[in-house]
Subunit: 351 residues, 4 copies
């Protein structure tokens, strides 16, 4: 909390009010000092009804263009379908807004590149892509320890993004447009690996997969369990695992291995600090979804974005801060796309 | 978040701006929907200077009586020296305010009783004592599991409150007025035990202690490590441990044992989800102080108090909710006082 | 393995072939270099039948006096009912045998003292009481770390002996002669505490208990859950917990706290290194009985006894080695007896 | 222990008395009921001197052919350099002996096949390759749980074999003949994966690696950290990690993931049940080498081999029991060899 907290708050408009959008909206409305949730936008009447009761006084829009035309807004916060992200970011930049956008930037590498190029024309505006693990206190602690040299030179990351099995297989219907398991889930791990290893570029990848439970995925060439290896320049490595079929909960964990030690983040996805001693043994219950696991990360992410924009407004040099830049998001898509190619061809893909 | 979040916010005045007072003030200012931090009070100019820069527009007072006279305030939040709590609560009730007060209610049993009696004249006003563990998500989860019968009938609680050793021994200078280790530290465990066991009354206690490092405590008849047993009506039991000399961090943990299972809360006081693999083995770093350990609890506690008062204002029947009532605080002091007696006499004390 | 392994092996006779006796017999028969299981004794034909098939060529006796008369035996190994221990040890000493005897030495303090005095007449003969935790690799590691000063000066031990609930309540029928929960179970913890704290003498104890499930215990003044505090000379302390009603397994754990750190032994009574990830969360299965938990300790204990006797035979000065001496066993009974007194009177007992 | 323990013991000759050979020799001499260590063989005088003092009466040989000519021996136990294994197994079969041989069977796939074919001519003789993890109680427990369907259908294994860094880099000098990290270390993981997944054949592999610390490995095309993916028939998968540069100890762990749950074996390579609470946090010390980690496995492996041979002698149908057959060892070498190829070419290798 600095004196600037008393300065004019940053006025933010949230776009998209699905489950995650609502979480972001409430964080911005009630829990981010220095920000005001000034507008919210959704084409769905249900979402707007929710906004009227759950959010403080907020200008409501059902059209993104109208929201962009609202001159009182400093920033937009995009929690819209992935296919809209790229164009919405460009539009927001043209409208003079700072932009926070949920991952992924785009499933299409060329489109990612277009946004990166376009954004270079607006150097005064902040654009951050929502790889929220960077803001999770444990991931952040690991990042700091790596930076301080506590594990020597880091050279290998193992990272996974595993979801509790959804017997209804909602994601199966979503498969034709999700980009597949690597672009949908592993992008988080790709970003974590590059972030912890010093942002190297990938040079070669290999991926394989299995359909353990959801046969419907075969139609779209997707799998419900995927494994991958990624080689980076400088002899660095990553191993990835993604699953849609876990029995115990959402299990997002990572490990960074260096020449003098290793750090594991979230080895047991324990819900809290309670251990149960009963006929099953001694156990910890697990976080069911990424919502419970990364609740705090979503909040800190919002606080960090607002702080970064306000630092710019106070005259600081702009940078992505701890958050992921458009370039990071481009590289994540580039690697994720290559993993999909490798899965489909059975061959290693050189980047 | 309900529609009432849009109603007039509860106006709260924080009294006392030491380390913990500042934490409460910031929570109320920025993180508690439905509340406005409308005033802050401290006799120290340094505290008020801090308030001017770190808090939003807030009426500042250096005198408690003046703050009580402020008719725009609905509630006071007392984070003052323990010896002042009892009288300040009574004064606030007479001034028509709802009251949150940090533990302990008082080190004197008779004084506790006086406050309890006085408070009965003000049934429309909420008074909650700050036993924050009840609001820690893990403690709360354990409480719910006990209530749902997951461990059968609970009959034994083991609970500890252990602090990282302070080589400077600040608390040694504080010893003559702290009430001793049981009234200062173990009150939290006493409250946890009663809360998890269904609020039984104590029938007999025994305590013993050791001076491991801080010889200066002997003068005031205090110890830096204390152990105790408490028998409750209905054949229930508790074991307590308090220490000022831990090498690894603040270690506040509890265990509740029932006829069909047991729950342990906080067995390893891990700082976060990171594990370090290095020449020391595999390890978790620990929470250094109760501030890190109970950061979330302090926030949820404030949210719950505000919600409880607002529910009253909306016409709900008043109750202490999940928080500790004056009666709970009285019983905690009664037991803590008996533990001190037992420590000093070497005999079991019957209550 | 030293050259002496080729010397004449120590000839041992096991007395008592119940469940634990059979374990000892097989260890001595097959897994203890330097020892020969030369004889076994039981009044029960079933036991002898078992011995004929499961043990190697062994002289079988149904009478202890006859076994003692067997001049080819160097040592006896007593796994008989507790009430027989004291006299059988004395008889074995008179017969010129070294003695290993399962705990407890006796439930009667005076009888313990008699054995101690009698044994002083036979200084050349080894007598060890079977507190097997001392030989568990983890307990032993903790002991060594304490001895090396790794945790500074140790001043507090917390130790527990908790059994999986036996719905049939076998031990209820055994209660009138078991000595009660403290003499039957807590003696192990008493011995552990004294061993880790440098063998201090107790000065005062207090105990309390609860009948959680087995109402039949009330008749004999016993409880199925007991808690206790023990003060030792020099300001050292111990807290004990014993239970017959655990849902998760045999949970024998201890903790030793020093001025520079603490060691916990067996915090989670995990069966092995497997963790299960399923709908219950992440869990470890637990050791069901002390047999699984202390399997290795029983073996190492036998190897250590044999090594100690052989060292004597090779001319080394006799000592109890790592094992518990008769004096240790006397002190354990003295404290256990005082705990029972305290439980029954509700008062602290000064020793 | 069955009655057959009284039958004539199996007479075993150990060949090779290096560090691991000595361990096997002592197990067979003192800890395996039903076996007699009847002979030991080494070309090194030092080894034979050790045998004279540390082993019981044993016939000593400095020549393998002489040992094979010893008609009193039933079985040979080969702990010799890897390059000798294949021929020594064949010679032993021709000499009428049962064979236990340390892994690997051979670094050469064709040679493995030759041994497999030759062995088919001696169906009455047991040949087991020493993949000792199968006998580790935790691995065995996981195997049984998989077999009982506890995790549904297993489809993915993640397994690693990581060694404490040896600053002297002994293995660097050994690199030209070791076969590389995958044939030397990962064979264990390959065998574990196939064993837990129902012994499927591999169809495609990809490997990558890094030289983190030991630059000298580059000369022989080896790495000190290797990662790999292996696809099996039936859509099953494995991920492997091998390292020579761990800071915390020997870390051999595995995970098997099924459609209804997962099992992790040895996630934290804790030395024992002690946890240390000090200024470093809360930690477990780790097993420094595979000797400490698999001490029990080596013993159980020997007991199982002896039991399997004796069952044959008693007329049971011969099988490999729980141990690895020559066919298993051939498949492990085939996969390990393909991993090396993939590492060197950067391409996926189809089998």
């Amino acid at each position: 909390m600095q004196s600037s907290d008393r300065a004019r708050p940053l006025r933010v408009g949230v776009v998209g009010l699905g489950r995650l959008g609502r979480r972001h909206a409430q964080n911005l409305a009630y829990r981010v000092p220095g920000a005001t949730l000034a507008a919210a936008c959704s084409p769905l009447e249900d979402d707007l009804t929710w906004a009227r009761s759950a959010l403080p006084e907020t200008q409501l829009y059902n059209d993104y263009a109208q929201l962009l035309a609202d001159d009182t807004l400093d920033a937009v916060w995009l929690v819209t379908p992935s296919s809209l992200h790229a164009q919405q970011i460009v539009d927001a930049l043209h409208a003079g807004k700072h932009v926070f956008c949920e991952k992924p930037l785009s499933l299409d590498v060329a489109e990612c590149q277009r946004v990166v190029e376009e954004s270079r024309r607006f150097p005064a505006q902040q654009v951050t892509i929502g790889f929220m693990r960077r803001f999770d206190p444990s991931y952040h602690d690991a990042f700091e320890k790596v930076r301080e040299g506590k594990i020597g030179r880091p050279f290998l990351v193992r990272s996974q993004n595993c979801d509790l099995n959804d017997p209804d297989g909602f994601f199966v219907r979503f498969a034709p447009t999700s980009g597949g398991i690597f672009l949908d889930c592993t992008v988080h791990d790709i970003d974590v690996a590059r972030w912890l290893l010093g942002k190297p570029r990938a040079t070669r990848v290999f991926a394989a997969g299995a359909v353990a439970l959801h046969e419907g995925l075969r139609e779209s060439g997707d799998v419900d369990n995927g494994v991958a290896i990624c080689e980076f320049e400088g002899g660095k490595l990553a191993m990835f695992y993604a699953s849609r079929t876990m029995a115990h909960g959402n299990d997002a964990s990572s490990e960074v291995i260096g020449t003098a030690g290793a750090l594991a983040i979230g080895r047991v996805p324990r819900m809290n600090r309670v251990e149960i001693y009963d006929a099953h043994g001694v156990r910890s219950e697990c976080t069911p979804t990424f919502f419970e696991r990364f609740e705090e990360a979503f909040l800190i992410e919002a606080q960090a974005f607002v702080a970064a924009v306000r630092a710019r407004l106070d005259g600081a040099a702009g940078d992505a801060g701890q958050g992921a830049s458009l370039e990071d998001a481009l590289e994540a898509t580039r690697i994720g796309y290559a993993l999909r190619q490798s899965l489909q061809t059975g061959q290693a893909v050189t980047l």
